[in-house]
Symmetry: C2
Subunit: 512 residues, 2 copies
Amino acid sequence: MTAGSTAPLDYVSLKKKFQPVLSKRVENRHLKSFWNPSKLPDGVIELAGGMPHEKFFPIEAIDLKISKTPFNENPKWHDSFTTAHLDLESPGELPIARSFQYAETRGLPPLLHFTKDMVARINRPAFSDKTDSNWDVILSGGSNDSMYKVFETLCDETTTVMIEEFTFTPAISNVEATGATVVPIKINLSVDRQSQGVDVNCLSELLENWSTGPYSHLNKPRVLYTIATGQNPTGMSVPQWKREKIYELAQRHDFLIVEDDPYGYLYFPPFDPENPLDNPYQSSSVTTERYLNEFLMKSFLTLDTDARVIRLETFSKIFAPGLRLSFIVANRFILEKVLELADITTRAPSGASQAIVYSTIRAMAESNMPSSLPLKELMFESWMQWIMQIASKYNHRKNVTLKALYETESYQAGQFSVMEPSAGMFIIIKINWANLGNPEDIPQQMDKLDEVLVKNGVKLVLGYKMAVSLEYSMQHSDFLRLTIAYAKDDNQLIEASKRIGNGIKDFFENYR
Amino acid sequence: MTAGSTAPLDYVSLKKKFQPVLSKRVENRHLKSFWNPSKLPDGVIELAGGMPHEKFFPIEAIDLKISKTPFNENPKWHDSFTTAHLDLESPGELPIARSFQYAETRGLPPLLHFTKDMVARINRPAFSDKTDSNWDVILSGGSNDSMYKVFETLCDETTTVMIEEFTFTPAISNVEATGATVVPIKINLSVDRQSQGVDVNCLSELLENWSTGPYSHLNKPRVLYTIATGQNPTGMSVPQWKREKIYELAQRHDFLIVEDDPYGYLYFPPFDPENPLDNPYQSSSVTTERYLNEFLMKSFLTLDTDARVIRLETFSKIFAPGLRLSFIVANRFILEKVLELADITTRAPSGASQAIVYSTIRAMAESNMPSSLPLKELMFESWMQWIMQIASKYNHRKNVTLKALYETESYQAGQFSVMEPSAGMFIIIKINWANLGNPEDIPQQMDKLDEVLVKNGVKLVLGYKMAVSLEYSMQHSDFLRLTIAYAKDDNQLIEASKRIGNGIKDFFENYR
């Protein structure tokens, strides 16, 4: 790879540029096809592909009841529900005969086109040519599957991957399964949205002085893996100016950016202590356009003049995790290599999952008919409206929880701080130790706190268990992560917040 | 590993025995969990796992229309259709709140238990202890995904894997992706069911003389991959006496058997030329019990006193391929290692697919209520009845096709032979060259034949393209594979058979 380029990157340039960053194992991947499902002259009977005729399937039809509002309690059917019908022949572009059959590894075309269109509208890659032909999207079986395929394509025993010092730890397992080595990079834990997230000075220094630094025995990093928006576990987001700086570092030190973005659509406007339950998403002035342009963080793709960003999106948080359905966005060369792995391993994600997602979005659009928009536009618009409703619910839950935490005696006594999240599903709570003594006591102290919290009726995740390297992050690992995603209602979040306050108080009074 | 053992193998013995056959990469696989979804005291509010509450899902309910008969044209609803209803709370054991949520990597318990019960009834492993605790089943994302996970667990650069000389070629890609090397083993192409399939004498000789044979530069094989029933592409099945012999060789030469069995349920009674459309499956005397005991081939598991067999089953051919749903049966130690790979890569297969399969089988059982059988038994019985209907349809299609092929002028002129299949979805046709000349001309001649067949309106697969090593199998590679699975009806199979006859005749008369 080399940094910077002005002309759009064509396939040949992409190949030349990215061939050297592929893992050695990519060479072993060759799908041995014995038959090419090519276009045959009309009337030829095709007895080649070993596919059962769709009338062998026991499923004849599927009817979906679709809620147009999360936590729907509106009794008026037409306002709040819609339906979708699928059978062997319908909907025409994706009937059961198609979705329940063997299908394209990259995903079924109607859903695939929908996702590519979404990316083109929201986060079009800076390196894109006019026809969006030098980048692409493939569907995958959940972001864990996506990241595995990406790391397996980029990493082997000699590869170094940088990861935010606290992270979704299965991502570490995923990198290490390729034989590669993970190094933690510092993040700023701060409520100031302009300074939170990856510490770019530290990152710059680490890379500039690699050969004399603590990891001089490792190769310079080939990849940065980042959950840049609504980071797990911290709930923090890398601000735009830092994204630009990180991208410059990627160019200068020639690494790829794997941007895992499961939470990006769940962006939170800042919390207003004067008006804690204020929720801009409930205002009719927040249109899809404003939501996309003024609220959401932009993907690294939008800065990506070099085609070095790989973006992972998922339907898990905005539709349902059990679908195991996600997508990967990257330059066409790298994506083809990822697809080759899928071809010989998982093949396509579940067609049932794909059909359910596609039909649901289509039904949402149809329920908004008649409209001046064509169906394709209306599908995008309707899906964004659904996502905004999800974001609104999460924002409300975040507000309810912050308010309840701030009202606890323990908070008011200064026993903990709350790191207000800027996006996602998580809030972290930092313990304010009066006199901790040795930071190495943190894990032990936190384990004790966990016990006391459970005794007080609430279970959270301990920050130190999400450290890439506990040694590296010990001093900052004294936090708890709570999720606002799974509670059944506001009251449960309020009750849990009280118990957190009580538990921390109990801990300070009786267990230290 | 060591051969033979009489006492049931417990986990510790399994570990000791099979640890040495794991690939080196298994060592890099460690799921880094940051939170253990353990049982909490009653009343504790759980804000740990980052799971969206089910009311965030847009799907509120799913209704399935289920055919009780493949190619159902019966207008009487109650006789031939049933329905299943799923919503956030029902069915109780697998509601949408569960199936669309993050879930166990190994599969959702109700479907997982159903599949283990199926295996225990039909192909219980010979090494099983009394409580079936030393072997297990995990669900997976289609057999391609299953085999990838198995090979990735057993193979690396130094591993040799034996594969039938003609095979489903993506399996080769799959082995080679691990860095391992594939060697072909000879199969007998014969209509005699006692001699068809793996050539056990050749296999024995190959293994006995490994160090002086053609592959002496490779390690002795660690694995045999076999599609032992209704083999793809040949449609042949390894008879019971050969299974016993192969198992003895596995013990003697210490290799594992990966038994890929997508077609096993589609077993064909022999074709009767006097009564070509005779179909025993249509007789009411073929009960589930007779079908299982007198018709189906038994899995290698039933011979497996050493726990060296890994069985791959799939819902692709008997339900629908687009589900991407399959399962793996193996001893508990190996299966745990496979599961560890799933944990850090794909995680669970689609919950939507799992819910559809489980609900369908349950609904089939409920439609057979009232019954003297409890629901669990009735589910097994009802599912076997469905499978038998599928087998019956395939058997009928095979009969129709053989009859039509035998009626062609080309066949009667001795221009081709038909290798009557004993199971599955495929029939192979051998070309009877009067004077071929050099066998090395086969690929070129077959390509020409393919062109002529397409000109005559039919497209098949060329056998030589499914060879593990064309060099090794050249002389026997002059066959065509046709599938009976995808045609829309009998007439299409009859018409295609005529075109095959015409095409071969045309080839002999005008292109040789």
